[in-house]
């Protein structure tokens, strides 16, 4: 054996950390697998399609065009409506698609959990990773539309990596929370699908926030974490300004707390997978 004595992996159940930390170590050790899974998802999705990777970019663009045709008359108070819609849509699609994919991947992976050791969070993490690649790709047509319509590119765009990071952390947290349930109850995936459709309509993606009735606006938006996160992404693009510190701090707190909760719950629940 090539390994030297100091290089041998030693597992001792008496010296294990908290499951959440062990899980994190596992992901770091299996980072090549995360990469392979992301690659698999992207390559497999486009292999048999003529448009290939362009599809990721055309898909939100098509939706944006339809929404613009249907709603631009109603929301004519919103300037440069296509950019408003597209920026919101890209952020929302990323969140909705990755959390759904996280559940599907975890269900798929459950059969492997019975046979080999794998960090349990691996399929959720890779699903979010795949979504992130698509998210970044979708920003290309967005910048084309911005240039075409005449939305200026400002220094505020420099905050976008932070916005993307926080939405990613939030999506990972929600994905983990629901994945930990879907392992035991497959119907949770259907319920989530219904819930996320409702959630989409409650989030100002294709309508401006000010059309919500005064009485319930603060309530609907105040309790909607995706509203803050979407603002963080949309403001630098659409309005060319930085989000105010309150929005920034609220989003960061929501994202980090959701992730910690999701990671903790999933790591704990996932221990029971192999018993089933």
């Amino acid at each position: 054996m090539e390994k030297t004595a100091s290089n041998v992996n030693i597992y001792d159940s008496a010296k294990q950390n908290n499951p959440a930390i062990e899980e994190l170590k596992g992901i770091i050790k299996y980072r090549d697998l995360v990469f392979q899974l992301i690659r698999r998802d992207i390559v497999a999705r486009y292999k048999r399609s003529v448009l290939g990777i362009a599809w990721t970019m055309l898909n939100p663009l098509g939706t944006m065009i339809i929404i613009t045709i249907v709603f631009s008359q109603i929301f004519d108070s919103v300037e440069k409506y296509p950019v408003y819609v597209l920026s919101g849509l890209i952020a929302w699609n990323f969140f909705a698609q990755t959390t759904t994919a996280a559940m599907q991947q975890t269900v798929w992976g459950a059969s492997l959990y019975h046979r080999i050791y794998l960090p349990r969070t691996i399929f959720t993490v890779s699903a979010i990773g795949t979504g992130l690649v698509n998210f970044l790709l979708a920003m290309l047509p967005l910048s084309v539309i911005m240039a075409f319509i005449g939305v200026p590119f400002t220094k505020a765009l420099l905050v976008l990596p932070l916005s993307v990071l926080l939405i990613t952390l939030f999506a990972l947290g929600i994905g983990l929370l629901f994945s930990s349930m879907v392992i035991f109850f497959p119907d949770v995936a259907e319920m989530y699908h219904i819930a996320i459709t409702g959630w989409m309509y409650l989030t100002p993606i294709f309508y401006p926030a000010n059309i919500l009735p005064d009485t319930s606006r603060a309530f609907i938006l105040g309790l909607n974490p995706m509203y803050y996160l979407m603002q963080l992404y949309r403001l630098p693009i659409y309005e060319g300004r930085l989000p105010d510190p309150t929005t920034l701090l609220t989003s960061a707190a929501i994202a980090v707390i959701t992730l910690l909760a999701g990671w903790g719950v999933f790591s704990k629940k996932a221990r029971a997978i192999a018993y089933m």
């Binding site: 001792d12 090549d32 059969s111």
Partner: protein, 250 residues
């Protein structure tokens, strides 16, 4: 525990909740929970297991169905976490089995080698180094860039096996349950296992087949109802196991 101890189980117990009535959906669970009808009982799959395996040893595990053999393998592979006791494992545990489960039909043979290899805990670099060996062994060199959905089932099986056995394992685990189906595949597994053993791998094998175990293993542990009934010299344990089986039938 001396330095050559590669696996050590001290008072290991595995216990889990088995629902009294299976609940398939969250809706059902929520309704039953509100009715106060969610109940489960404890199932003790393994109870106070003590085992020590030294470097280069081959340990056989024998016992009836439901005795906890596969659970014990899962504990050592860290698929199941223990509730009580201490598990110490020095080195990587590799299960030898049909691992085609991780293959993706649309990806090419080469892409699947990377995917499957990383699922088995290998790094991309390690896989790259073994690529030629794997392709040779699986005899698919001409099809390496074709999607795996175009492969015959024999090719897929060969490829899975080639990946699983590309590296000399530190600790090799074989559950006979997975190896059944194809007699040629089973034979191939055993041959490969013997080669690994000769080269110094530590081996743990679960089987119902006493003859098979005694041909490979020097030590055997006999499990019954989650407890170790006897462990030690292979011939001796097997003899006692056979006796107890006969007693039951007579």
């Amino acid at each position: 525990m001396d330095t050559e101890t590669i696996i050590c189980l001290e008072n290991i117990s595995v216990c889990y909740d088995v629902p009294n009535e299976p609940i398939a959906s969250f809706k059902e669970y929520a309704i039953r929970y509100l009715q106060g009808k969610v109940s489960s009982r404890k199932f003790l799959a393994l109870s106070e297991i003590n085992l020590e395996i030294h470097r280069g040893e081959a340990l056989g595990i024998i016992g009836r169905n439901g005795a906890g053999k596969s659970t014990l393998l899962k504990v050592i592979s860290r698929i199941i976490l223990v509730n009580a006791g201490r598990l110490y494992v020095r080195g990587d545990v590799s299960p030898l089995m049909e691992v085609g489960a991780g293959f993706h039909p649309e990806l090419t043979g080469k892409e699947n080698i990377f995917l499957n290899g990383t699922l088995l805990g290998r790094t991309r670099r390690e896989i790259q180094k073994k690529m030629d060996d794997i392709l040779d062994f699986a005899e698919i060199a001409d099809f390496i860039n074709a999607p795996i959905r175009t492969y015959s089932s024999g090719m897929i099986a060969r490829l899975g096996f080639a990946i699983a056995t590309a590296w000399q394992p530190e600790i090799l685990i074989l559950d006979e349950v997975f190896a059944v189906g194809d007699i040629f595949f089973k034979r191939k597994c055993l041959l490969k296992m013997e080669a690994f053993h000769a080269n110094g791998s530590t081996i743990i094998i679960v089987s119902h087949d006493g003859n098979l175990l005694s041909s490979i293993c020097s030590k055997i542990a006999w499990l019954d109802q989650g407890k170790i009934q006897a462990s030690g010299d292979a011939q001796e344990v097997l003899l006692n196991y056979e006796k107890s089986k006969q007693k039951q039938f007579s």
